[in-house]
């Protein structure tokens, strides 16, 4: 059965192109032009994923719709935003959105996000349940807590390993600074974002990332947090 996707955007041409693109990727698409229709459709049609524009040009806006949906629904939500909206992105994640995408974006990018969400929510064993992970030259043995890069074992401190494990077991998912701090350091470290930055920096060096050659495992989400690359 095809996965049903609800697209919510006030711009008809964007609805149309998203519908064409998503149909092309093999999904069934239903659309809504405002927040109230979106909530009704989500209740009646039970879509598998909701793609929701943050600024709908009418009340309720995307953030509010997301909040209301989360009162009764666990359906994954991908928010669409524009540049300069870092705070809004963090808000969207805080009210229950699963991911966001910045306009303008390509259809491949959107599909990659959808696939990442499906992998995380589907019945097949998720990254968290596997005993080992492999991305490019990086190999993580979760059972033995051993990390190899380019075939060589890398020594990580316990915090560095915790950080890597947290990110790597949520591939393709954006993790906010706060969520990372809470999980690795504990909730009392609430706003010490720079701890995360310093450790991510150290970790990247040990993982021998080289952005200039596109060797990256941990991606920056400016003003929001980090995202581990999607594992195919």
């Amino acid at each position: 059965m095809k996965l049903k996707i609800l697209v919510v955007d006030d711009e008809p041409q964007i609805r149309k192109q998203l519908k064409i693109g998503l149909n092309g990727h093999g999904y069934e698409v239903i659309t809504a032009s405002n927040g109230l229709d979106a909530i009704t459709l989500a209740a009646q049609q039970a879509p598998g994923i909701i793609i929701l524009d943050i600024s709908l040009g009418s009340e309720p806006d995307g953030i509010e719709v997301c909040k209301r949906l989360r009162e009764w629904s666990n359906t994954p939500i991908i928010m669409l935003s524009v540049h300069d909206e870092e705070k809004t992105k963090v808000t969207a994640l805080a009210v229950g959105a699963d991911d966001y995408l910045t306009k303008p974006f390509g259809m491949e990018e959107l599909n990659a996000r959808i696939l990442a969400i499906l992998r995380r929510t589907s019945g097949e064993p998720s990254a968290a349940q596997k005993s080992e992970l492999r991305v490019g030259d990086l190999h993580i043995d979760l059972a033995k807590r051993i990390v190899h890069v380019e075939g060589e074992q890398v020594h990580l401190t316990p915090k560095e390993y915790e950080l890597l494990r947290l990110l790597a077991t949520h591939p393709g998912k954006v993790m906010t600074h706060r969520a990372i701090l809470g999980a690795v350091w504990g909730p009392e470290y609430g706003d010490m974002d720079h701890y995360v930055r310093v450790f991510v920096n150290q970790l990247r060096k040990k993982l021998r990332e080289n952005p200039a050659r596109n060797v990256r495992y941990i991606l920056n989400e400016p003003g929001v947090g980090y995202r581990f690359v999607a594992i195919e």
Partner: protein, 464 residues
């Protein structure tokens, strides 16, 4: 109605005559009538000079009566025995009247001159004060202060008046603060007594001076605004120019590509269709970048750039820029060189990413194909340096200034917004952007940012 001072003067006139009479009475057998009248005449002149015409006349008349009653035979009557003494008395009265009149006039003139001098000094002080003021409220404050302190007003306030109508026992004047083309306001001044003509003139002159000062401020403000408008206008013209040239190009490419796909999509080979679609995508990206830059530029120019700063890693920014360069060029055009102990710095991630992207994009354009642009992080005392090192041609000193100008067009005729935007963003962070020569040829952009205090940067890997 007589003022208190006038009544005092008249009383003084009478009292002084009585006093002088009492002093001379014991001596009246020694003095001749001429002696007595001379002494009284002196009193009349003194009264005229110090107290004015009225008191002088009263003194003269009282003296006349006193002489007649106490000093002229027969004593203690107003009769005069010797007809020659009648002549003496009449001459005394006439001389006293004339002397009184002359004295009083001299006194009046001295007073007027003094008052003029006082008024001149008030006006001079006011003009000098007004010339140094730069705001309307200061001018109004100075004017009302002057009215109360120097001109003896009880109250002075501006329309709209804050207090109710002036009390009945006060004389109120309304001064219009106006120039030939504009009325700036109305000043209400209340005095205890009504004003004489010269005082009123002075009041009006002050009002005119204040109005002129208000006009001067208004004109200066207008000049400043029009200069601002001119600046904004120049930017707008340049922006419109840029929009028509640089935005139209990608739009044209997108439009022709799309119409080609629509018309010939069925007959074109698959590879060519993909190529056309890729062109549309990359031109859309180019358009997105341009719009972003134009937005940033106008925000910078309008001073509307809001920073959301936090402790961030410059190496992360460099990584994002390098990864983007790889995606654009599909080869290693950038090399990142950072020390292990590079500290975090306080900055707005998105904006600095934009600034560094612009600098690196520009540097890659002039980088020889066999080498790579370096992004270097360095610590220099209390400053953090982020260098973008290019190995192309060295730029002349004049060019270093030119390329920082908005809308400067480089040798590829591209719209020059990247560098001035980078500079604007860095300056908004209290940093500096320098252009240095790369040893061996090329240009090095140096971003200088203030370092953070160490205490914010401590992190402990407690688990060991």
């Amino acid at each position: 109605m007589y003022s208190r001072r006038a009544i005092v003067a008249y009383v003084l006139a009478v009292v002084s005559v009585i006093g002088l009479t009492l002093i001379q009475l014991p001596l009246r057998d020694l003095f001749t009538i001429a002696n007595v009248t001379m002494v009284f005449l002196l009193l009349v002149v003194i009264m005229a000079v110090t107290r004015g015409t009225g008191p002088a006349f009263v003194t003269a008349f009282a003296s006349f009566v006193s002489i007649n009653y106490f000093f002229v035979q027969p004593l203690h009557t107003l009769l005069v025995a010797d007809p020659r003494e009648v002549l003496d008395l009449i001459v005394f009265l006439v001389v006293a009247a004339i002397a009184g009149r002359l004295g009083a006039r001299a006194r009046q003139q001295a007073r007027t001159a003094q008052q003029r001098a006082h008024e001149q000094s008030i006006l001079y002080a006011l003009t000098r004060a007004l010339n140094q003021l730069t705001s309307e409220t200061e001018i109004y404050a100075t004017l009302t202060r002057l009215m109360c302190d120097d001109l003896g007003a009880v109250k002075a306030d501006l329309l709209p008046f804050t207090t109710e109508a002036a009390a009945d026992d006060l004389t109120t004047h309304y001064l219009l603060l106006q120039t030939s083309e504009h009325v700036y306001g109305t000043l209400r001044v209340a005095f205890r007594s009504s004003l004489e003509e010269p005082r009123l003139d002075l009041l009006n002159t002050c009002a005119v001076q204040a109005a002129m000062a208000l006009q001067r401020i208004e004109l200066a403000e207008r000049a400043r605004k029009s200069q601002q408008f001119e600046e904004a206008d120049r930017l707008k013209t340049a922006l419109l120019h840029a929009v028509s040239h640089d935005l139209r190009t990608p739009i044209t490419i997108i439009k022709t590509s799309a119409s080609n796909l629509r018309q010939f999509g069925d007959t074109l080979p698959a590879t060519e269709r993909v190529e056309i679609a890729e062109t549309i995508e990359s031109e859309a990206d180019q358009l997105d970048r341009l719009v972003g830059n134009l937005l940033d530029m106008s925000r910078l120019k309008a001073g509307a750039l809001r920073l959301s700063t936090g402790l961030n890693s410059l190496e992360e920014v460099a990584g994002d820029v390098a990864a983007r360069a790889w995606q654009l060029h599909k080869q290693e055009r950038v090399k990142i060189v950072f020390p292990d102990d590079m500290p975090l710095v306080n900055f707005d991630y998105g904006l600095l990413l934009q600034a560094l992207t612009n600098l690196v994009d520009n540097s890659i354009r002039y980088e020889p194909p066999e080498s790579a642009v370096e992004i270097r992080g360095e610590v220099a005392g209390k400053e953090i340096l982020l260098k973008v090192v290019n190995h192309g041609e060295t730029i002349s000193p004049e060019m270093k200034v030119q390329i920082m100008e908005p809308f400067y067009r480089g040798r590829e005729g591209r719209i020059g917004l990247g560098l001035p935007i980078a500079q604007g963003i860095i300056e908004a962070h209290h940093g500096k952007l320098r252009i240095e020569d790369t040893p061996g040829g090329g240009a090095t952009f140096v971003i200088v940012l203030p370092a953070q205090e160490k205490k914010y940067l401590e992190t402990q890997d407690s688990g060991g």
